[in-house]
Symmetry: C2
Subunit: 332 residues, 2 copies
């Protein structure tokens, strides 16, 4: 097609008609990894309603969509990707610093012993995350994250982490953007960690990534100014997601997607007002192709939000039934 597009303009008329036809049924072209069913139909009906003249129309500048990241856009099992990064980075730091290596949490990650690492307490993990996420410049942190992401592999699938994203959700973000939506990520993950891959992986610009983070301090270095990450962390989960997105976006979203109780308030806020609104919960029910977990899971627990979905009218997406393919490499 591209070769013929460069021909004389009058030859383009048939293609223009074809393009118009495709534009008139964008879901057909835009959501190929979604199986036909209630979830896909609801998404298409929502986007059609808010983008078409009529009572549900929403002006383009007010079409704001927010997505959780871990478990909603990419795999969060068996550990959050950012925790995997923190463990790997902590081992590196311990290698270079005997005093650090003597501390129990660091000794565990340095040992590489999976059972010892799995037995780390929440306090241990916080010590490791504090060591890898604070006391360095924002640029150094981002560089370490990018370097790790470039070579790390998921322990079970063997995929690179940026390849562990959900193809149907990539298509959904594209479909929303094609409908004039501004797409934001609102995640419990560190925003600078996410920013190292969000543009390339999701097409989301750094300023549309909202997450947790460390308070920064500006310091003079080499005649210039840099930002260092202090040890004071700012959260972005549960109600904090709503606070942060309201402060940073300034418009109530009309679409929110999540997968766990940490997304409950964000979905309530996005859908808890008049007008046509959409709440989406990814339900991990596919042990064969991804993972199956919900109410009892230590990671990505989906319990209260699942109970809230019915009364609130949210769309619960079954990975097993609604997704034709899960990962991009299966779609190729």
């Amino acid at each position: 097609m591209p070769a013929r597009m460069s021909g004389p303009r009058r030859l383009l008329a048939p293609f223009a008609i074809l393009a118009a036809l495709l534009a008139a049924s964008p879901a057909w072209a835009a959501l190929p990894s979604w199986n036909a069913g209630a979830a896909k139909s609801a998404i298409v009906a929502f986007v059609t309603a808010v983008t078409s003249p009529g009572p549900a129309f929403v002006p383009e500048g007010e079409r704001v969509a927010v997505f959780d990241n871990d478990g909603t856009l990419w795999t969060e099992q068996p550990v959050y990707t950012e925790v995997a990064f923190s463990l790997a980075r902590a081992a590196e730091l311990a290698k270079a610093d005997p005093a650090l290596a003597a501390r129990p949490a660091f000794a565990a990650v340095l040992s590489g012993d999976r059972a010892r690492i799995a037995a780390l307490s929440a306090t241990d993990l916080m010590e490791l995350v504090a060591a890898t996420h604070s006391g360095l410049t924002v640029d150094a942190f981002s560089a370490a994250a990018a370097q790790w992401l470039a070579q790390a592999r998921h322990p079970q699938s063997g995929r690179a982490y940026p390849d562990s994203v959900y193809q149907p959700m990539l298509e959904l973000m594209d479909y929303l953007r094609a409908g004039g939506f501004q797409v934001f990520i609102v995640s419990g993950g560190d925003r600078d960690f996410m920013r190292t891959f969000a543009l390339e992986t999701y097409g989301v610009r750094p300023w549309q990534v909202i997450g947790s983070g460390n308070v920064t301090e500006m310091v003079e270095a080499d005649g210039g100014w840099v930002l260092t990450r202090t040890d004071k962390a700012l959260g972005d989960d549960g109600p904090d997601k709503v606070r942060n997105l309201a402060l940073q976006i300034g418009i109530r979203p009309i679409f929110a997607a999540g997968n766990s109780d940490g997304d409950l308030q964000m979905l309530q806020y996005a859908t808890g007002a008049t007008g046509t609104r959409f709440g989406l919960l990814v339900h991990h029910d596919d042990a064969a192709r991804e993972y199956a977990y919900d109410r009892q899971s230590a990671i990505g627990k989906l319990d209260k939000a699942l109970d809230a979905a019915g009364p609130a009218g949210w769309t619960v997406v079954s990975i097993r039934n609604d997704w034709r393919t899960v990962f991009p490499d299966e779609a190729r």
Copy 2:
């Protein structure tokens, strides 16, 4: 021109050539309110350098510009616009609430006596701002701000506040956007206050407005969910501007504009790294057309930042000399 543009396509060729010529010299067309001089030349040279192939080229996604608001984009004398709003709103609240009206600060604004209002202490002002900025929903606050802005007039010029913006700065924002820049506002003002006019007045979307604000709380109301503004305020001045813009934008700006010592750190951060960067300070030196103030001013004090400008290579814009027109109504 628009009428002729609707004619047959082949007639458009001459206009296309004209448009190309204009595009080749965008500053000529884009900055008409700027007098020829060092400031205008420096701006044009910077934008040309970072948008043209060569050693100073910056990819479009990294062209981030930040602007202070009060005194940089619009008049901040004799009082910040937001304080004028707060005083007017506090008087309204006191009218409806005798207990409030009995408090000295509220009694002063209720009296309408300019001398008494001018004599209010910082503590008094904080009490008034707390009353007008907290304890209500975000939507109610925004509605009150919009309502006030629609009818309020500047006490000396008689202009509506959205007409008290600087025409040359509007042109500068447009010029940067035409060069692929993302334009953000980073101001000590309340972000939800600014968001009520930023899009219409500056062409800046709500999520590109960074400012101070109150911590919010999500509460259930009428079967839906709303956000209320608590009395805990978050600042956005001086070093906080850098912290906030780093958290929210995620990319170090390559252009920063301000007018006071509250913008010092933001300019240092934007220009304090390698690569072609631009710092701009608006110097209020035009008592005839606007105001003249700098080192001794209670509002918009420009002292340390003015001293820093020379060594840092920032462009100090003289309103008197560099701006052909100051306000939009003078440009018509």
